[in-house]
């Protein structure tokens, strides 16, 4: 009786795939349905955006930052704006800061809607995706009235924002927020509390708090492990100290602490908190200019700076070095998705192939952010 020969399969979840969020490649070593390891292979979307900054200058780089993470472009705009302002010692007027926060929080809503929608679609439910996108379309309409574009906004400038709120926009925004809250509750009843969905997500891809800190995770991924770290509260920037909001943290009530269900629920709760911030901001916005006076050929003094922005995907770090000319010497972006790709390999050991899609979706990975 010969011994049964077993070997592992090496599968390629290639750069073209219907469910990886962007152009990602995974080399999966699997023993039947159970994975031994899923090795990520990134770099398919590298566009040398950081190098382009050295050619186009400070003002010209702003539209390029939209393309670093096109789903939450306001945060990248804000990050670059803050980095340049820190280098050039420019102060943004109060109304400009409020406009930034309003735009950023709307973008956070849109990004989280997209994230939970695609997550539901990857699990197999096709309807919550279209419902989430419908709500996102309404946010896109609002921002289109505000700044003229629906995805790559280029709304913020060095020293403030480009456009003031158009007349009647505040009322429309408040009406939209009133419309959104019951829809979020309905969304929960459709998918978040669905038994099949909970079975697919609970106890899958558990990240312990120590691992999360070791692997440098940020944003909802980190908060789902129970660690309460949000740049808006811990290293406050802009006018966030003026607002009252909570930072939702995972609590493991559906499975264990740090599983995919926690990451999903943290995003849902963050949406509710964003609505809260938006209502306060739209009420408290002061009058005044929205853009500080910045010369056309902006030449900050030589030096370096680092700013951190709490984007929808986590703590986005912007590091800029200036050498005194009108062109930056070096720009670097640190994004949350890059760290999340690192932990996929560790998390995937022992999971099933169907779970690989789940964990990629729950980490809310956006491919252009990884490769820039």
């Amino acid at each position: 009786m010969t011994t049964l020969r077993t070997e592992e399969m090496t599968l390629n979840m290639g750069p073209q795939h219907p469910s990886t969020h962007g152009v990602l490649r995974f080399i999966v070593r699997a023993d039947g349905e159970v994975m031994r390891e899923a090795i990520p292979d990134v770099g398919y979307l590298h566009r040398s955006i950081e190098k382009i900054a050295e050619k186009v200058g400070y003002h010209g780089f702003m539209p390029y930052t939209d393309r670093v993470d096109y789903v939450c472009a306001m945060f990248t705009n804000q990050g670059w704006g803050m980095a340049s302002e820190k280098l050039g010692h420019i102060e943004v007027p109060k109304r400009g800061e409020y406009c930034r926060v309003i735009a950023a929080e709307f973008n956070r809503l849109a990004s989280h809607l997209l994230s939970v929608g695609t997550m539901a679609m990857d699990i197999g439910a096709i309807t919550p995706f279209t419902h989430a996108l419908r709500e996102r379309e309404m946010i896109n309409d609002l921002i289109e009235e505000l700044c003229g574009a629906r995805l790559t906004f280029n709304y913020m400038r060095i020293g403030g924002v480009a456009f003031d709120l158009p007349p009647g926009w505040r009322e429309k925004a408040l009406a939209y927020l009133d419309h959104l809250e019951p829809i979020l509750a309905e969304y929960d009843m459709l998918i978040s509390f669905n038994k099949i969905y909970i079975e697919r997500l609970a106890n899958v891809g558990i990240i312990t708090p120590e691992e999360a800190i070791d692997y440098n995770l940020v944003g909802p991924n980190l908060r789902a492990c129970g660690i309460k770290w949000d740049i808006r509260k811990d290293i406050p920037y802009s006018v966030y100290p003026d607002f009252e909001f909570d930072v939702p943290v995972g609590n493991g009530q559906w499975g264990k602490l740090g599983d995919s269900m926690d990451r999903y629920m943290v995003r849902i709760h963050e949406m509710v908190q964003s609505v809260k911030i938006l209502r306060q901001a739209l009420k408290q916005i002061p009058a005044g200019p929205v853009l500080a006076k910045v010369p056309r050929n902006f030449k900050p003094p030589a030096g370096e700076c680092q700013v951190r922005v709490e984007s929808a995907r986590g703590d986005m770090g912007w590091y800029a070095v200036s050498d005194g000319t009108g062109y930056p010497w070096r720009v670097h972006v640190r994004t949350g998705s890059f760290a999340a790709m690192g932990i996929v390999q560790k998390m995937s050991r022992g999971l099933m192939i169907a779970d690989l899609v789940t964990i990629i979706a729950s980490l809310d990975v956006i491919a252009p952010e990884i490769d820039r």
């Binding site: 003002h59 007027p93 289109e144 505000l146 003229g148 574009a149 456009f163």
Partner: protein
């Protein structure tokens, strides 16, 4: 009996949550779809419903272009090519080439901001698809023209006035530190 009660609890949870989910999707049968059936089944043309600030395809009103080349310098992707020569005797600029390559353009709006008269602006057109890349280079200068020289007082030429007002109206959407933009002294007059 923990396992048995967990067993029946599972069944009950499954049935109830599926019931709720089906009720939510069932309620959607009675709602109007959100789709806009572009391009032929909309009430008005979509381009006309877009806001004034919409950053569509660029357009240049050559009558009010001063030839300052601010847009060419501001463009981060080098899609604007302008050839303007200053005649040393008359001190007037002549524009012989103003090309915008709309394939390269990334619709960022950085060119329309520094324009002093608002001659380069975004329109609400977004349908630019075509079969050849050559047709995507919009050449706005057919024969060399003189650039516009803004007058010191209010503008008097009745042909230029509406175009100038539209351009300045477009520019007023951009807020620069609360101060009026240079050139805004030309307001709409009855004449």
């Amino acid at each position: 009996m923990g396992a048995a009660s967990a067993y029946f609890q599972n069944i009950k949870d499954a049935v109830l949550s599926i019931f709720e989910g089906m009720a939510v999707t069932g309620s959607h049968f009675m709602r109007k779809p959100y789709t806009v059936q572009y391009p032929d089944r909309t009430e008005t043309r979509v381009q006309d419903t877009l806001p004034f600030r919409y950053r569509g395809i660029l357009e240049v009103d050559l009558e009010i272009c001063t030839g300052c080349l601010a847009c060419e310098r501001a463009c981060p992707i080098d899609c604007i090519v302008i050839t303007a020569e200053k005649d040393p005797k008359t001190k007037l600029m002549t524009l012989s080439q103003f090309d915008i390559d709309i394939i390269k353009c990334m619709y960022c709006g950085l060119c329309s901001e520094p324009c002093p008269t608002g001659s380069i602006h975004h329109t609400t057109e977004f349908e630019g698809a075509d079969y050849s890349t050559e047709s995507m280079i919009r050449r706005f200068v057919k024969d060399p023209v003189l650039a516009y020289k803004p007058s010191k007082g209010p503008e008097t030429n009745p042909q230029i006035l509406p175009i100038l007002n539209r351009g300045l109206n477009y520019l007023s959407e951009y807020q620069v530190s609360g101060e009026p933009k240079p050139g805004a002294k030309v307001e709409a007059t009855e004449s």
